[in-house]
């Protein structure tokens, strides 16, 4: 029996604002608990919400980047439930009239190649605070610093067909939102959170199976693992003749298992209704159009352009556009005069490695372009260039100057080359004999020995003809 997995994702991203969604408190991470609060986000009697214009703008930008229809009027609604970190006893969200609906996202599926995933809706809402269940024995500790931070909730259609595809979707949406400047999407800070709806059905069936919801998984890799575990669990239930219950589940990353959340005493009835504290959110069509016009180049378009303009492969384009800063860096290196394909090779190897180690793009684009030029013209070897790169990363020195200082400029002087060749031939009489007996592949060994003797300074292109002549 073959099974098809059907997955839809709800992604909450924190919008990159200075202040909270409905009050002037800072939207920052890592303060002392309950210090970043005011009457509004504490839910004090008499306090009222006032929406943040930048949160509205960023939500709109996200919606436009996802090719959604942004509605001229949307409505904030109250979602009613009790939880200790929900100060008002309701969350201000949007319900039947969300900011935007009907978008799509291009995703490179590991199983199916390029696919388009439908975006059902994007709406604005406020975050809750944090409940800490392990801070004090027998107590739940509540920190409201995060309460009221602005979120966009992005709901996908159930268009994903495997856990790996779900992971690819998350990578694509994160990249898009980071490029659009909407959110930093940092999972460590909880700025991107994922709930996944998953069901299985027999291959070829049209109707969806009963879905379950896997909540609050803390990394893309774990989303994939959690969905695999839940898919396997559902298939096992169905193959055992059972029925899938519509439940919410939590993923235990340590054990790799999903378990149902302990049943709520009361099934959820959120009693949504329009928030009477907030008149409708009305966006002028001209303003929305201006946001669309001002969208930065998004990852797909950028990749297509780099492939067309610079002849990069799809893979290379993918790697150099992983993040906006890296893509900008790559383009700056090319603008500074580097050959585009060579620039991509450098960015994908040394630059990324250095960034991972040092946490920054340390070599200025013009310096890297100059270094690539030195290699191209034969002034330094590629090996030497990597040393120079590492040095420039620290010193920010001129690459040519650094090459001289480190003695890494390649020696092409015929006298010097001949001297090293002679010394090598004298030191390896046996290999010389074998070469002359027809074992010509030993040329490489001999070139290596010359390079070694020259401490890397000999130009390998100059060494070969000299060797051949002396051996010939």
């Amino acid at each position: 029996m073959t099974w098809e997995t059907v997955i839809g994702l709800e992604v909450h991203v924190q919008l990159a604002t200075a202040s909270k969604m409905f009050c002037g408190c800072a939207a920052v991470f890592g303060e002392e608990p309950n210090t970043n609060v005011c009457p509004v986000c504490l839910g004090l009697p008499g306090a009222l919400p006032v929406p943040n214009a930048e949160a509205v703008r960023l939500g709109t930008v996200a919606a436009l980047a996802l090719e959604c229809t942004v509605h001229p009027a949307s409505v904030f609604a109250r979602k009613n439930y009790f939880y200790p970190d929900l100060p008002k006893g309701y969350q201000i969200s949007q319900y039947d009239r969300p900011l935007a609906t009907g978008g799509r996202l291009a995703v490179e599926s590991p199983d199916r190649g390029p696919i388009t995933v439908g975006i059902t809706r994007l709406h604005l809402e406020e975050d809750a605070g944090k409940s800490l269940h392990d801070r004090f024995p027998g107590l739940t500790a509540v920190d409201l610093n995060r309460a009221g931070v602005p979120l966009a909730e992005i709901v996908s259609e159930p268009d994903l067909r495997s856990p790996a595809e779900a992971r690819a979707y998350l990578g694509a949406i994160k990249q898009l939102l980071v490029f659009a400047g909407v959110s930093d999407c940092s999972m460590e800070k909880g700025h991107l959170r994922v709930d996944a709806n998953v069901s299985v059905r027999r291959a070829g069936e049209a109707a969806f199976g009963t879905k379950t919801e896997v909540k609050n998984v803390n990394s893309f890799a774990n989303v994939e693992r959690a969905l695999e575990a839940e898919r396997d669990r559902q298939i096992a239930v169905l193959e055992g003749g059972g029925r899938v219950e519509q439940v919410s589940l939590l993923f235990n990353a340590a054990s790799g298992e999903v378990r149902p959340m302990r049943a709520k005493e009361e099934s959820h009835d959120y009693r949504y209704f329009p928030d009477p504290d907030l008149p409708p959110l009305v966006l002028e069509p001209g303003w929305v159009a201006a946001q669309r016009d001002a969208l930065p180049e998004l990852p797909d378009a950028k990749r297509a352009r780099l492939m067309a303009e610079h002849g990069l492969s799809g893979y290379d384009a993918q790697v150099v556009t992983a993040e906006p800063a890296l893509a900008d860096y790559y383009e700056a290196v090319v603008t500074a005069g580097a050959e585009p394909k060579l620039a991509a090779n450098w960015v994908m190897s040394e630059v990324l490695a250095d960034q991972n180690a040092a946490g920054a793009l340390r070599v200025a684009p013009a310096r890297l372009a100059a270094l690539i030029g030195l290699v191209q013209e034969g002034t330094v070897s590629l090996q030497a260039a990597k040393k120079i790169f590492a040095e420039v990363a620290v010193s920010d020195g001129d690459p040519a100057e650094t090459a001289r200082r480190l003695g890494l400029v390649q020696v092409r002087d015929a006298g010097a080359l001949e001297r090293w060749v002679d010394e090598v031939l004298a030191a390896h009489p046996e290999e010389v004999a074998r070469y002359r007996a027809g074992e010509t592949k030993l040329l490489g060994f001999l070139v290596g020995q010359v390079m070694k003797r020259s401490q890397g300074q000999a130009d390998p292109k100059g060494v070969q003809p000299v060797l051949r002549r002396k051996l010939g």
């Binding site: 009457p39 004090l44 008499g46 009222l48 027998g138 107590l139 009835d269 009693r271």
Partner: protein, 461 residues
């Protein structure tokens, strides 16, 4: 009222002392009043309300006195911020002298639903002062203060103003900030004002009105102006909505309103009949919309962030919630939260809340249509004069019907006021004026013109 703040402080303290039997006040202290007097005396220049003593309903956030909403659930609660309206009034020189008693969370029409005891009518302690702003109404009627703040959700200032024989003004929705007014029904709530005279009320209203960046439901309009009193109302048309004069209307009330209609004619206005056919649905509409909003607005009283101290370890969180809210809220508040929860719950939302929202639009539409023909509406404020304590506490719906004539303007967001219109069997009668949205000042001007002719009218029947 003399303008020396310390003298005012002494006089008001003495009068508050004397008025204690009314149970109109929840918090006051001579020291607090003296501090206000010193603050006002130290102001570099005398503001427009210099040394005016003001009583404030205890559902409006104040910094120094508690803000309890007459509820056990907020017993001892001190707000760490001040309501915008009150901040403006104090900056204009007004002195906060007392926090007044109310129906718990402003839910009621008699001020019998206070956790801290009922308020007595100043003219007859066996009767109610109306509600929910009964404490403020009684203090103004007893001459303790010239003006007081109340709040309206569905008539909670106009109705007690009528019962107590004072002026009660509800502004257009959105003209006075709700920031710091403890929410009951957010789409209806308005800080409103009682005055001994139209002028006293109008000055307070003008000072506290205007856009507030902290309240997204305030209109981007300048503060209201204090009206000039016109000498003639020639050219003005006033409508009497037939639905507000049912056959069983209290004859004394009818006589009082007739007296006002006559005064309008004397001043040159044309008085004509109009119809507001959907107003008959206002009370049921109100008792869906207001409890629905209240059920969410009162969810924040969960015992987590504020409220009376409690042991850290209760049985469990749900037990904490249910005990806090079950014990902390009085019976009427619990009923309304439950009704509001019910009308919003799955399967019932459309039948109740959805229907009520559409009816609300029709009620407002009736007013819009009427105001194409007339400038102002005149109705009774309440169907009866002040009733006896206990008379309506057994039947919640009977209590709700006390607001039958004041609810519609609340649902439509319109400015409205109650003007004393003489007495019937010794008890005050109120006449209500309702104006188009934003015409607050014009409505107050008409009331000022009428005031001299009708307030001193004495027995009308």
């Amino acid at each position: 009222m003399t303008a020396a703040p310390d003298a005012v402080a002494r006089e008001v303290a003495a009068r508050l002392e004397a008025a204690a039997p009314l149970n109109a006040v929840l918090h006051w202290s001579a020291g607090g009043i003296e501090a206000e007097a010193r603050r006002v005396a130290a102001m570099p220049s005398a503001g427009p309300l210099h040394a005016v003593p003001l009583a404030v309903k205890d559902n409006i956030a104040t910094l120094d006195a508690p803000t309890t909403c007459a509820s056990r659930i907020l017993e001892g609660y001190r707000s760490p911020f001040e309501a915008t309206a009150l901040r403006r009034l104090r900056a204009a020189g007004a002195m906060l002298v007392a926090k007044t008693n109310l129906d718990e969370f402003a839910m009621g029409s008699s001020t019998e639903h206070s956790a801290f005891g009922r308020v007595h009518h100043p003219l007859d302690p066996a009767r109610v002062p109306g509600g929910s702003s009964g404490g403020s109404a009684a203090l103004v009627a007893a001459g303790v203060v010239p003006a007081a703040l109340g709040s309206e959700t569905g008539g909670s200032v106009r109705q007690p103003a009528a019962f107590c024989g004072v002026v009660g003004v509800k502004p257009s929705y959105g003209r006075v900030s709700r920031y710091g007014l403890v929410a009951f029904g957010s789409s209806l709530d308005c800080i409103s004002v009682f005055g001994r005279t139209v002028g006293d009320a109008a000055r307070v209203l003008a000072t506290m009105s205007g856009h507030d960046p902290l309240d997204a439901t305030t209109l981007a309009e300048p503060p209201l102006a204090v009206p000039e009193t016109p000498t003639s109302l020639a050219g003005m048309t006033v409508g009497l909505p037939t639905e507000y004069f049912p056959a069983d209307l209290d004859p004394g009330v009818r006589a009082g309103v007739d007296r006002v209609a006559a005064a309008l004619r004397e001043l040159g206005a044309t008085v004509t009949e109009v119809s507001l056919p959907h107003s008959r649905y206002a009370v049921p509409t109100y008792y869906i919309v207001a409890p629905a909003e209240a059920s969410a607005n009162l969810a924040r009283y969960d015992g987590v962030r504020y409220g009376p101290p409690r042991p850290e370890h209760e049985a469990d969180l749900r037990a904490l919630y249910r005990a806090t809210r079950g014990r902390g809220f009085g019976p009427e508040v619990r009923r309304r939260i439950l009704v509001g929860t019910y009308v919003l719950s799955a399967g019932y939302y459309e039948a109740y809340y959805g229907t009520a929202q559409r009816m609300r639009a029709r009620i407002a539409g009736d007013f819009r249509a009427a105001f194409e023909r007339v400038d102002l509406l005149l109705t009774p404020t309440a169907p009866t004069t002040a009733f006896r304590a206990g008379e309506k506490t057994e039947d919640p719906v009977a209590m709700y019907l006390a607001d039958v004539f004041v609810c519609p303007a609340s649902l439509a967001g319109l400015p409205a006021l109650s003007l004393p219109a003489g007495r019937s069997e010794g008890l005050p009668v109120g006449a209500q004026l309702i104006a188009p949205a934003g015409q607050d000042t014009r409505m107050l001007a008409v009331a000022a013109a009428l005031e001299e002719r009708v307030v001193a009218a004495g027995e009308v029947r």
